[in-house]
Symmetry: C2
């Protein structure tokens, strides 16, 4: 277990309890009862922690205007990490009437991956089409390009005055100015919903992976120091999920070890066939001892992403643990489940590409 949280890297956090103690995250569980329709990731403890989500909740319940913000770095296909965050924001859009702010992080793609602003547009169109296909209501969303949003770039500069090189080094390690600026631009993105243009100070929720908490701490600190009238942004945290090799978090840096929403059936099959399972050394042994779903990436795929139905998930667990179902058979079934889901998604998405293009052009 690594206990450093590294937003630019791929560290593994398998023990989450220290996050509550050391970093002051709050567990989500005690709030569950107050949420009318919790998402399945909330109920399963995947979305497990928060900062100030109780305040966001109270503001939304009181009928105040609230916002939820996220974004995507347009450097590749929509993978499962993007999907999880996207589904979070769509959930908050529907259930909490939160206005969505969705950032196309083209400057981050430029700093982090060297992709020019022009070259990232086509990818952004593809990503936004995924977002729409997942169910985002674009009429209640503000989708924008970082490089084109004056307030974001101005805020990034206002924040730059509030940091020292040593502060940034402590959070992000020794990096060049561009990467530090990328973090400050993100802080601008998170603050955008509270600008005058959007009606001023309000509760803003940022659903992120738990590795992003150092960002959130920085942004909250900067927010406080910029303007006391601003609300500190709230955040929810989902747990890591592993890549298909069972390692670290899923990442664009290892494309074959992650699923994307654009995978064809044959790509999907190749990935699933090679994915790590909780199977035993021999079929005989597995029939005797049963499989180990908690070690299995395939089971995790269902639990985190593709099987919201608790009964069905429990059924598969018991078939696995009893040794009745071996990995080959399970993989075939899961290939069908995920394959069908992707097929439906891709068909929806194909029809939305034109709309996505228009959105990105005007963003």
């Amino acid at each position: 277990m690594a206990n450093i949280i590294d937003p630019f890297g791929e560290s593994e956090v398998s023990d989450y309890s220290h996050l509550f103690k050391e970093f002051g995250l709050s567990p989500l569980k005690p709030l569950l009862a107050k949420i009318k329709n919790p998402s399945f990731t909330m109920k399963r403890g995947i979305l497990f922690a928060h900062r100030d989500f109780d305040k966001f909740l109270a503001a939304a319940k009181a009928g105040k205007k609230v916002a939820v913000m996220s974004g995507i770095k347009p450097t590749g296909k929509f993978h499962l990490g993007s999907k999880m965050t996207a589904e979070d924001i769509i959930y908050f859009q529907k259930e909490f009437k939160a206005k969505v702010f969705y950032c196309i992080a083209d400057l981050e793609a430029y700093f982090d991956n060297g992709v020019s602003l022009e070259d990232s547009r086509a990818t952004a169109v593809d990503n936004v089409a995924d977002l729409l296909a997942l169910g985002l209501d674009e009429k209640k969303a503000y989708i924008y390009k970082q490089s084109n949003e004056l307030d974001v770039l101005r805020l990034a500069q206002l924040f730059a005055k509030k940091v020292t090189t040593n502060m940034m080094k402590a959070i992000y390690g020794q990096k060049d100015i561009g990467l530090y600026n990328a973090a400050l631009i993100q802080a601008g993105d998170i603050t955008l919903p509270q600008t005058e243009k959007f009606g001023g100070p309000k509760q803003v929720l940022v659903p992120v992976g738990v590795d992003q908490d150092p960002h959130m701490r920085l942004v909250r600190d900067l927010t406080k120091r910029l303007d006391r009238k601003l609300f500190l942004p709230a955040s929810t945290y989902h747990k890591f999920f592993r890549n298909l090799e069972g390692e670290s978090k899923m990442s664009k840096r290892k494309p074959l070890a992650m699923l994307t929403m654009s995978d064809s059936k044959s790509e999907l099959k190749a990935k699933i066939v090679n994915a790590l399972t909780g199977g035993r050394d021999t079929a005989e042994e597995q029939r005797k001892l049963g499989g180990q779903p908690d070690k299995c990436v395939i089971f995790e795929l269902l639990a985190y992403h593709f099987q919201p139905d608790n009964k069905k998930l429990a059924g598969r667990r018991s078939r696995c643990e009893s040794g009745k179902m071996l990995c080959g058979q399970c993989k075939e079934e899961v290939l069908e489940i995920i394959g069908d889901r992707l097929k439906v998604h891709q068909a929806k998405k194909a029809k939305l590409l034109k709309k996505a293009k228009k959105i990105v052009e005007n963003a």
Copy 2:
């Protein structure tokens, strides 16, 4: 003699010849014959060096669109350094039909002096009124606030990717991110005239003090690496002039040792009375040996700023050197000359404050 050029500090460069050899500045003198109406600072060798000014000259002569850019950090009254640069840009606006880009460097004021964007506005209005009173034709100028110019902020980020912390440290010393960003924003300002919004690539001239050359070298390097289609910005350099104590360059950091265009007659008098001259220890000695105008700040004030008439300047020199005129009498006369000039300027300016306010509001 200090031979480090420090754009953030107040170093003294009394020997300029090494600038030609070491840094590749070119002397302006050989170009003088090609300039139809050279300014008095050109003729006197105050505006003494350049980079690529020959190219700017050729483009302007060929009837191509050219631009001249400068700016002011809105943190105080318009002093003689601001005046000299302003007169340069007004000269290029008139003589070369150059479109003027004039930047209100509110973000630089924020980084460098901790002045908020809101608080710098009133100062900006005052400064812009000075600029208009000096003769800027605002109809042929684009006056803007740094914090409000999307292209400038975007360019600053694009440039940020091209620098390393070590590069910035080598030029500006160990500073925090904000001050490095201020330099990158300035690079954005200098590049703005070449953006699509303003008709694309063109020759841009930046008249600066010679201490600003490290900036210019950085901007030229960044320009090259950003986009080969852009022209490298050209620059002209004026020599330092001393403060009223005869030290280093005139600076806002020592307000009583510099003149501003807003000085009242009594402020002016106090400053002139206390200014360093080239006088001798006793009146008797001075009558015998004569004064030393080349050591005298008062004489420099006339030569650099307030006496464009060569004959009158030569007359004063000879009265001083002959010992006929002592410092007291000279100071009285100069007080009249500068006092009259400021009075005329301040009267013009008073009528232009309303217009300046409107310009800054819309900038």
